[in-house]
Symmetry: C2
Subunit: 389 residues, 2 copies
Amino acid sequence: MTITRPRGFRAAGLAAGIKSTGAADLALVVNDGPRDVAAAVFTSNRVQAAPVLWSREAVADGRARAVVLNSGGANACTGPEGFADTHRTAEHLASLLDVSAQDVLVCSTGLIGERLPMEPLLAGVAAASEQLAAGADSDAAASRAIMTTDSVPKTAEVTTASGAIVGGMAKGAGMLAPQLATMLVVLTTDADVDATIAQEALKAATSTTFDRVDSDACMSTNDTVILLASGASGVMVAADELTEAIRAVSADLARQLVADAEGASHDVHVVVRSATSEQSALAVAREIARSNLVKAAIFGNDPNWGRIVSAAGCVPEAVAPFDVADLSVTVNGIEVCRGGGAHRDRSEVDMTPRETLIEVDLGAGEATGDIWTNDLTHDYVEENSAYSS
Amino acid sequence: MTITRPRGFRAAGLAAGIKSTGAADLALVVNDGPRDVAAAVFTSNRVQAAPVLWSREAVADGRARAVVLNSGGANACTGPEGFADTHRTAEHLASLLDVSAQDVLVCSTGLIGERLPMEPLLAGVAAASEQLAAGADSDAAASRAIMTTDSVPKTAEVTTASGAIVGGMAKGAGMLAPQLATMLVVLTTDADVDATIAQEALKAATSTTFDRVDSDACMSTNDTVILLASGASGVMVAADELTEAIRAVSADLARQLVADAEGASHDVHVVVRSATSEQSALAVAREIARSNLVKAAIFGNDPNWGRIVSAAGCVPEAVAPFDVADLSVTVNGIEVCRGGGAHRDRSEVDMTPRETLIEVDLGAGEATGDIWTNDLTHDYVEENSAYSS
C-alpha cells in the first residue's frame, strides 16, 4: 500500500507475457483525480528510448491521467517503429480509460534494441485495466511488475504535517549513473498542487537523491521519474513542505536501489567535505565512486586510501581546487589518511558492515557533496556478463 | 637486448630486498654518452609521487645520465620524508657514477603510502652499479626488476632508416588511464638529437600510444615515460623520423601493456570514426572504454551494441556532436547496429579471438580516434581486491 496510499490512485500489475519467463511485466498507475497534475524527470543520455521520447512530450503540459510501465524490453534503439509501438500503447490504454492519449505516460525497461511483442503487451494493458475497473487493484503487484534485475520491489511513503501523502515505487539496480539511474520511479501524492510547483519539487528532490546514486557511471536510455498529483486530499501543501516529502520518499527509494545493486556486497557512501563548492565536492565524490580500483578494494574489505586519494587526484584543479597535502580520508570512522599521507593503520578499520562510509576532507572550503555507490564484486561481473541488456 | 641495443647504454637489475617476496625490484639504466639528452612525460594526476616530483625537476634541463627504478613501493603520499628518500637515492647513485644528482632520474612503483626501505634500496643501488662497472649489465634483468603485477617483461626496439636505434622497456598492467597509464617506461636511443627535439618527439609519440590505453579510467600517482639519447651512433636523425621510431616502439610497448592487463580475457580496441574532430572521437571512445557494462558484456562474449550506444550517449553534445539515428556499431567486422538500431544479429559475431574490435561510426564528420582497453573479468576483481596497492 504505497503508491495507492495517497487518495485518488489505483494500480495494477500482471504478467502479460512480454517476459519469456512468465514473470510479472506490466503495470498501470491511474490517477482518478480530481486533479491530473503530472511532472517528470528523464535521462540525460542522448540516446533516448521511445517511451522517453513519448513521455517527454506527453507530460510537457503538466498533466497526465495514467502511466503504463512494462519490463521485458526497453524499446530503445528501435527507431520509428518502436516509437509507434509506444504510441499504440498509450492510445490503447487511453481508449480503455476514456482519456486522451496525450495524458498517458509510458515507461519501459529491459533489453535495448528489440521490438516489444505488441500483441501480448496490448492484451496485458486491457487485462490490467479490467482489474482496475473491477476494483481488484494492487499496488504491490504493480511494484513487482516493473522489476528486472531487482531482487525485491522498492516502495516508500511519507505523510506531510498537513496530512497529504506521498507514495512511491521504483525499480533499478546496477547501471546507475549521475543525473539519474537506470530506474523507473512513480511517485504519487494526493496533495492539491499545481504543475509548476510539482515540477520544481520533483527536480529539487531528484537532484539530491536519485542523482546521487552512481553505480556504473553510465546513464541509461530509459530513466524516468514521474510524479502524479491527484489533489484528492483537498490539502493545499506549501511548496517547501511538498518538496521535502517528495525528497524523503525519493531518498528512501534511492537508498533501496543502492542496497539492491546487482551483485554488490557493500553499499558505499562517499562524502566529500570542505570543498570550495557543492559541485566540486560532487566531482571528487563521483570520481572516487567510479574508480574500479577503489570499489574492488572495498569488495576485498580493504580501506585502501591510496586508491581513494589517487581517484581524487584525477579531478582537474579547475573543477575541484584543493591541496593534496591537506587531504584526509576516513573510512568507517577511522582516519587512515591525514595530510595526504598515512595516518591510522588500515587494519583498524572494520569493513564488515554492509555500509562503507568514506569521508574525504579536501581542506579547501565549506561545501559538502555525497554520492552513493557499490563495490565491484564477482557477482557484478557475473550478472552483467551473463544477463544481456 | 632492447634498451641497451642502442649504443651508449648499460642496464642492470636485481633483487635488493625491497619486495618482501625476494623478487627483482631494482633497475638501473645508464647513459654513457657522448650526449646526455633526456626527455620525460609524467602523470597528470594531481597526487604526484616523490619520484615524480623529483624527476620533473631533474629532467627540466633536458639532461640526464641515469635512471634508477624500483618496484616494491611507489613512495607516493609519503610527504617530505618520502621526497628525501628519493633525493638520497639519486644522490647515492650519482656519487657512484660520479655525476650530478640532478642528472639522475628516479621512478618507483608499488603500494601507495608506505616509506621505502632505504637500507636495502641503497645497498641494491650500489650492487647494481657494481654490476655495471664489472661489465655484467643485463637489460633483461632491468626489464624484470621493474615488474609488479606484470606477468611478463615488456620490451621493444626499432631501427631507423638512417641507422639509429630506439629501444624501450615498460611495466604496467591495470590501473591504466588517459594521459598515461600506471606505467614506467624507459626509452633509449643512440640518435644524435637535442633536448627540444627529444621532448617534442616523446610528447607526440606518447599522445597517440600510451595515452590511448585506458583500462581503469583512473590515473596513477607514479606514471613516467623517460627518453634518453646518447648520440653514440653519430647519426643525426631528422625530427620526424625520430618521432616515428619512438612512436613505433611506444605503440609496441603500449600494445603489450594492454595484452597483459590484470586478469583481462580480451584486448578491446575501440575505434570511433566519422567524428567532427579527433577530440570528439576520443571522448566517445573513452566513454565506451570505461563502461563497466560494455566491458562485462565483452567478458561474456556478448557484442552488446545497446550498451555501447548507451555509453556513447553519455558524452555531451557539445563535446561530441552526432545524431543518434546515424550511429552504427561494428564488432569484429559484423555491423550489429545501423542507423541507431539493430542490424545484423549479435549471434553472427565471433567473440572468441583475444582481440575485440569495436568500431563506432558517428556519421558526423571525418575524424577518427581510438582507445585500447580490456574487458571486465572475475580475475580483474580478484586481483584488485586481493592485491593492495
